[in-house]
Amino acid sequence: MLVSLFNYWIVIVLMMMGFYIVISHSNLIKKLLGLSIFQASVFIMYISMGKVEGGTAPILEEGIKTYSNPLPHVLILTAIVVGIATVALGLALVVRIHEAYGTIEENEIQEKDNKSC
């Protein structure tokens, strides 16, 4: 159980780690990194489920009968691009927040907002 589903255990551990970082840290860049780890765990989940025991890469070759499913990999290529775009946009926002507030700590930003209200 533990060994045969090794990938999925890793997925769960990474997912919870990422999620916990997003919730618990007040530094905006750390939050984004947590988000990135969270997304990466889902990528691993997709790729693991495409693997067929004993299968090779899906290239037509004589003597090879079992292939791994290539579709999840393709889907995840798209999802990785989306993930990069998200993190890039997030970092760009952090730069702008730093310019506007002079800090990237969540609690300090909230303090400044409360004062200006």
């Binding site: 989940m45 927040i97 506007a100």
Partner: protein, 492 residues
Amino acid sequence: MLAHAPALTVLVPLLAAPLSLVFVKSRHCWIFCLLVTCASLVLSSLMLGQILDTGTIIYTMGGWPAPWGIEYRVDLLNGFVLLLVSLLGFIVMMAADSSLEKEIDTDKRKFFYSSYLLCLTGMLGITATGDAFNVFVFLEISSLSTYTLIAMGKDRKALWASYQYLIMGTIGATFILIGIGLMYAMTGTLNMHDLSIRLPEVENTRTVFTAFAFFMVGVCLKLALFPLHLWLPNAYTYAPSIVSALIAATATKVAVYVMLRFVFTIFGIEFSFEHMPLQEVLIALGVAGVLTSSIIAIYQTNLKRLAAYSSVAQVGYMIIGFAIGNVTGLTATILHLFNHALMKGALFLAMAGIMYRLGHVEIKNLQGLGRTMPLTMAAFVVGGLSLIGVPLTVGFVSKWYLVLGIIEQGWWLLAVLVLFGSLLALIYIWRVIEIAYFSPPNASTSQVSEAPAMILIPTWILVLGNIYFGIDTDLTVGITSLAAQSLFGVSP
């Protein structure tokens, strides 16, 4: 041309988005974008006409037959939502040029238009596609451009609002991705039609339960169901007025559509409502959302934030209508998608007009605005009445069907709670009316004149829509009840 309409509605704004960066003058860019959104509108209305004539349109991308290729499957439900999104996209775009004058620097405007078109592409794509993974991709296209649009707000709080939305939105989208992945693991297909056939065979497995749970939480984050709505008030408040109008009128509606599509077409009504406690959970959250957000809305000092909380409450009504689980309730939900887009569009465009003249929307400083900006405030009042659900406005029509649906189930207490929610809406709208009409103008409001014509015209188009569809309900109720019946599998 019409044969390719499903793809073109999405492709036209997608291709136009980078093209709009070519223009030097922002006004030329605006005219170009207006033409593009108009083209989308024409295409989606032609499609809806065709669906009413000949039934569901199936379009295979690149000629690859489903389930191998991606297919666009447009039936009454998404044809109607496509029309709604492209219509609001066009009308809100009309007001963009004037409203942006005061809110976004000249050199940034073409980027604004480009993101606007991308956002529209994403929402139209989510609605048109018949492929589950495609939904995720378009969802991210629309979300990423929405984050950009919100961050363009003048106040620095817009940046913070956008960042918060980015975090919450990405978590929501990733949950949806997990849900779709688990469904794929069980069935080996991503095509929605194919999924709906294969999923029932493996329905009673823990994987499908998990997929359903992840998917639902993800979508509820996107549609801002209470208590997952925390990103919404800030995002609506600090975004540029045009952006608030666009996302308030369309974004949550598209997410509600996704929920309807997955629950009814893919998972099936028996699975969702009998194997899963969806009904109980959604009704409880819907009612809590309506009451809590309406009460919070009463205490707001900022007009945009008031409208944002009222949006959360209105999403609650849509969810209740869908969760009571009969055809009348579902009709009310689909109807309210359209009607709420009309009223919130009108309200937020009226606020864009106030923002243009006053530079703020603080309620206590709107004294006497009813005298100096009569047309804008009148638009606000009609939109507000519609929100409350006064007869002869669209709000009444959808609430009527909602209450009918609830009574059909015999849940009187729920009907009373829904009507009590309308009463709360009356209070928060009245607060604004009282200050704007019954107190004398102050130093700043006595100086202002009426909002510019290019903001007033689209606002009043929506206001007249509010009244017209409130009186002549044949078209909207006809289409939505057919769509609801087909989702329930009852042939009309």
